[in-house]
């Protein structure tokens, strides 16, 4: 495993530490003693061919098809370079359908994540160490300019066609390279704006070549990124990335290959009710909509996501077996039923109508969920995330509509005072049932990017006295009759607006408590409960003063920086300074250059990281986090919690379920835990 770099090795070590830290964090609450937080555990991949099984079994349904001559024998369906998985606990048995809830056609991530193994590299259960998936090996050259991917020999698509380097090159040249489908190059393939190339070496070897050192590419390939993300997530819902695509199936929809060229492709699209060939292609390459599409994950769609139920069945050509030679997955399929709202979904989960559900489960309902455990015949697991904060108050650094407010948002002591005024313990008890860790926005202590001791507490403890003193000192000492501080320009009360969206967490309610706490140091904040799309449009237009959001994903700073530093532009949730993000992304041609030297320093550090080797990247990330926390562009509350996808209800009938899941975007919760190895005990 060439990518077994120090970065990832440290992350692995780190996860051992996490287990030591968590019980301490939970000790204050009764949940700590409940045994709900398990130990991270995961499957083992057997790399040594000598230990591989020599004979193979398959599901009874597939055996029947083989008997009828409709399917080749199991040994002919499996690749030469097998993926042999030792499940978490035991060898399972075939059968059963996984019942689960989803919220509609927009919820395709629900299924994409189950098929997460359809990417070249997938992180293991710690979220830190990369495991082989479609690729059996990979290597970055010493100069950081060539990355080589070795695919499994004999891989097959779900329709039986061979999967080779040609499918990678097809994606690169005909999908990614077609401006009608993908209008702009992605930064994942363009270090310092210089486009990289994908080159076929032989049928099972692909090279990625760059003009400048791009060591970060190792992390990008192993993360949930546009290039490393695989087919299910990156080519559904009108997305067109993912690194490879089924050439033998998709070619017929492209003008370049379709009979009759562009006119032929458009005519065929119109005949099927699509406006043009691009619209038709978007449909045809979407695994959640098109049951015909060849896929590589453990399951394929049989009834599309845009019906009342989304139904999947096992992929007969799935390329992994257990140590006894049983072809995976064990489960016959997945049936997701549409829940018109989240309350119903949560109630159904408690009624035991789902076999495993962590998505859309509301942590606020935990007491009721626990109460119904026996009745609903499920067990509850609490999985913990490693991002620093589930509610960060981002102060818009490029805000300019009200110069007085803008002046204070850009004042570092004003920001620090606001942070010191927060009683994070009260927030934690009220909205996170005490399970979260209060403090700064920094990622979990055990992670390599954590800047070091003291940075969890820096400017992030509760100190009303100091907050008041700082506010007095910077020129906000005058107060009105109600005790609120007044503006320096017209003597009116200084009012800040918090824009809050009811999304993953009850942010509007949380913000009411935050506003109340700020009120105690004389700062008036008004909470604007805003519909999500409107909120995004407003912040895209640089209209918000303060926006509250999670910083989930920032634990991998370089892969998902948008909620740590202002280096992305609208529509990528640029809350910390949309105009500065635009300036950074456009290379200085659009937006507004930040006056704050600390932000410019962040930009320089971030830019330099892509060409640095692992050690250098870690140091740079720590430097960035130190600036971010010292400057308090985002005021963090509490994090490392189970709030998002961390409350998991598992039917007592299921086996091989890890007692703790990795909760992170790149872990593809729950897909990183390899659902193909889960089975029904009875």
């Amino acid at each position: 495993m060439a990518i077994g770099s120090q970065f990832l090795a440290r992350l692995v070590l780190g996860s051992a530490l996490v287990t030591g830290i968590v019980p301490a964090a939970l000790a204050q609450s009764s949940l700590g003693q409940s045994g709900l937080v398990g130990q991270p555990e995961g499957i083992t991949i057997i790399a040594d061919p000598a230990q591989w099984p020599k004979s193979f079994n398959e599901a009874p349904q597939l055996a029947e098809l083989v008997k009828q001559g409709k399917l080749p024998a199991v040994k002919d369906r499996l690749p030469q370079d097998l993926m042999v998985i030792k499940p978490v606990k035991e060898i399972g048995k075939y059968g059963g359908v996984w019942r689960r809830g989803f919220t509609g056609p927009g919820d395709n991530e629900n299924g994409n994540r189950i098929n997460a193994s359809d990417r070249p590299i997938l992180v293991d259960h710690t979220g830190a160490s990369p495991n082989p998936s479609l690729a059996k090996a990979w290597k970055m050259s010493d100069d950081g300019k060539t990355f080589t991917l070795n695919l499994r020999r004999g891989l097959r698509w779900s329709d039986g066609a061979p999967m080779t380097a040609n499918d990678f090159v097809f994606w690169f040249e005909d999908i990614y390279g077609n401006k009608d489908i993908v209008p702009t190059p992605i930064s994942d393939l363009s270090p310092q704006g210089k486009p990289g190339r994908m080159v076929k070496v032989d049928d099972y070897t692909v090279n990625f070549e760059f003009d400048v050192p791009f060591f970060l590419f190792e992390d990008l390939m192993a993360g949930d990124t546009l290039i490393g993300g695989g087919q299910a997530v990156r080519q559904s819902d009108k997305r067109s990335h993912g690194g490879y695509a089924p050439a033998h199936y998709l070619k017929q929809f492209l003008p370049k290959y379709a009979p009759g060229g562009l006119d032929g492709a458009n005519a065929a699209a119109k005949a099927e009710g699509y406006d043009n060939w691009v619209a038709r292609l978007h449909f045809k390459k979407d695994w959640s909509l098109n049951p015909e599409l060849p896929v590589l994950g453990p399951f394929k769609t049989t009834q599309a996501i845009n019906k009342a139920t989304w139904v999947m069945e096992r992929n007969p050509y799935y390329w992994a077996v257990d140590t006894a030679g049983n072809q995976l997955p064990y489960m016959d399929g997945v049936v997701m039923t549409l829940a018109e709202n989240l309350e119903v979904l949560n109630l159904r989960a408690m009624a035991g109508e789902y076999d495993l559900q962590e998505r859309h489960i509301d942590i606020g309902k935990l007491p009721v969920i626990l109460e119904n455990q026996t009745r609903g015949k499920y067990k509850v697991h609490l999985d913990l995330a490693s991002n620093g904060s589930d509610a960060v108050y981002y102060l818009n650094q490029s805000y300019d509509a009200d110069p007085e407010v803008a002046k204070w948002l850009r004042n570092v002591d004003f920001r620090r005072a606001l942070s010191l005024a927060l009683d994070r313990k009260q927030l934690n008890e009220a909205f996170w049932l005490g399970v979260a860790v209060p403090g700064s926005a920094a990622p979990g202590e055990s992670l390599p990017y954590f800047p070091g001791p003291g940075w969890r507490e820096k400017w992030s403890t509760f100190d009303q006295k100091m907050a008041n003193e700082m506010l007095d000192k910077i020129g906000l000492s005058k107060k009105d009759a109600q005790g609120f501080r007044v503006r320096t320009d017209n003597g009116q009360r200084l009012r800040l607006q918090i824009q809050a969206v009811q999304a993953f967490l009850p942010w509007p309610k949380i913000s009411e408590m935050v506003a109340d706490q700020w009120g105690k140091v004389g700062i008036q904040a008004d909470v604007r409960d805003t519909e999500r799309t409107l909120a995004m449009t407003r912040s895209g237009n640089n209209e918000h003063q303060i926006m509250v959001w999670t910083n989930g994903g920032t634990e991998l700073l370089y892969l998902f920086p948008r909620h740590a530093i202002p280096v992305e532009a609208h529509p990528s949730e640029a809350f910390m300074g949309p105009e500065h993000g635009k300036w950074f992304v456009s290379g200085g041609t659009q937006g507004k250059k930040p006056e704050d030297p600390e932000i410019l320093k962040i930009f320089d550090l971030f830019r330099s990281a892509a060409g640095q080797k692992t050690d250098g990247r870690i140091k740079t990330a720590q430097e960035i986090w130190k600036i971010v926390i010292d400057q308090q562009y985002g005021i963090a509350t509490v994090g490392q919690s189970s709030a998002l996808m961390g409350v998991r209800l598992v039917s007592n009938r299921l086996g091989n379920i890890p007692s703790r899941n990795c909760i992170a975007q790149h872990c593809r919760t729950p897909g990183g835990a390899h659902p193909e190895t889960w089975f029904y005990k009875n």
Partner: protein, 330 residues
């Protein structure tokens, strides 16, 4: 008579057209468009969309054109029976609605029947026995039914249904019939699930109808013709049922027009809570997502339903009330 009907039909068409213009404008009112919503959702699942990609999507959906061009394109397609593709669901609008329309109609009719079944007898009883103890009791229950938001009622009933009787949470089918093709078993399964949503939807309208029936009947009961009928020695139930009740029925007939759209759109919250696969939640969803063709078609459908309902109630009124018939000739 024929001119009257033709007149009504012409007005109905104009009304529908006006509704379609208004609905299209309303859908466009909130800032942003479908692509904005779509990008927001993508961002939520961790994907990034660039401004260039967003622009490409807008062109693909025709969102780059002015509203009136979009409207005209949509309307001329609707005229040929093509309602377009739902942006969110990626399927023809008619198909998306069609899945849910039949169940919506079944639930609506069940709810209307339950409303009448409860409101009529109680209304008559409390008018005839005005200020009796049962009159007060029913009136109280009626007002409570009116005052309690029915989504709350739905939640409470659902919770106790689950807690005490192990009922399914929401929906119209058990898990085993969810995917099955239509069969007697599936119809029976639907019949078993129907009473709960029907009763909850019915209760809100019941109180109103009880009060209307009671008030109207009280007016009628004091009329001289009732006294005359009594004096002629007709049995009491016949006196009441044959004349005053018939006259008091008018409001029932005239509200039919509003009942159909009410059950589709007025019950959105209840349908959401009960997770009913009806048109209501679809409308809400399409409005939030600014899925114009889907929302536009549903609003248009509601308009058509209202107009048809009003038309039917006009006809029924003509049939049950000779005075209205006479008025037309005059």
């Amino acid at each position: 008579m024929v001119t009257y009907i033709l007149q009504r039909l012409g007005l109905a068409l104009l009304t529908i057209l006006a509704i379609s213009v208004v609905s299209f404008v309303i859908i466009q009112l909130p800032p942003g468009d479908f692509v904005d919503t779509y990008i927001t959702n993508l961002a939520a699942s961790g994907s990034a969309v660039r401004a260039e990609e967003a622009a490409a999507l807008r062109i693909q959906y025709g969102l780059d054109q002015p509203i009136w061009v979009q409207y005209w394109k949509w309307l001329s397609r609707v005229a040929t029976g093509d309602f377009g593709m739902s942006m969110e669901w990626g399927r023809p609008v008619l198909e998306v609605i069609g899945d849910r329309l039949w169940l919506t109609i079944v639930i609506s009719i069940a709810a209307i029947l339950v409303t009448w079944g409860i409101a009529l007898p109680i209304g008559i009883y409390s008018a005839v026995r005005q200020y009796s103890i049962p009159d007060y009791v029913f009136t109280l229950i009626g007002f409570v039914g009116l005052a309690v938001p029915n989504f709350l009622l739905a939640l409470i009933i659902m919770y106790f249904g689950f807690k005490l009787f192990d009922l399914n949470i929401g929906g119209l089918f058990s898990a085993e019939y969810q995917l099955a093709p239509w069969s007697w078993g599936k119809i029976w399964d639907l019949t078993k699930h129907l009473p709960l949503p029907a009763v909850i939807l019915a209760l809100a309208g019941t109180a109103q109808l009880i009060r209307i029936m009671r008030a109207n009947l009280l007016d009628e009961l004091r009329r001289p013709y009732v006294t005359t009928a009594r004096a002629r020695g007709l049995p009491e139930w016949r006196v009441i049922m044959k004349y005053p009740v018939r006259a008091a029925l008018n409001p029932f007939a005239s509200t039919i027009g509003y009942l159909l759209p009410f059950v589709v759109s007025g019950s959105i919250v209840v349908s959401l809570v009960l997770s009913l696969p009806t048109v209501g939640p679809l409308l809400l969803r399409s409005l939030i997502a600014q899925d114009m063709f889907l929302a536009g078609t549903i609003v248009l459908l509601l308009g058509v339903l209202t107009v048809i309902g009003t038309f039917i109630s006009d006809l029924i009124l003509m049939w049950i009330d000779p005075r209205i018939r006479a008025g037309m000739h005059g």
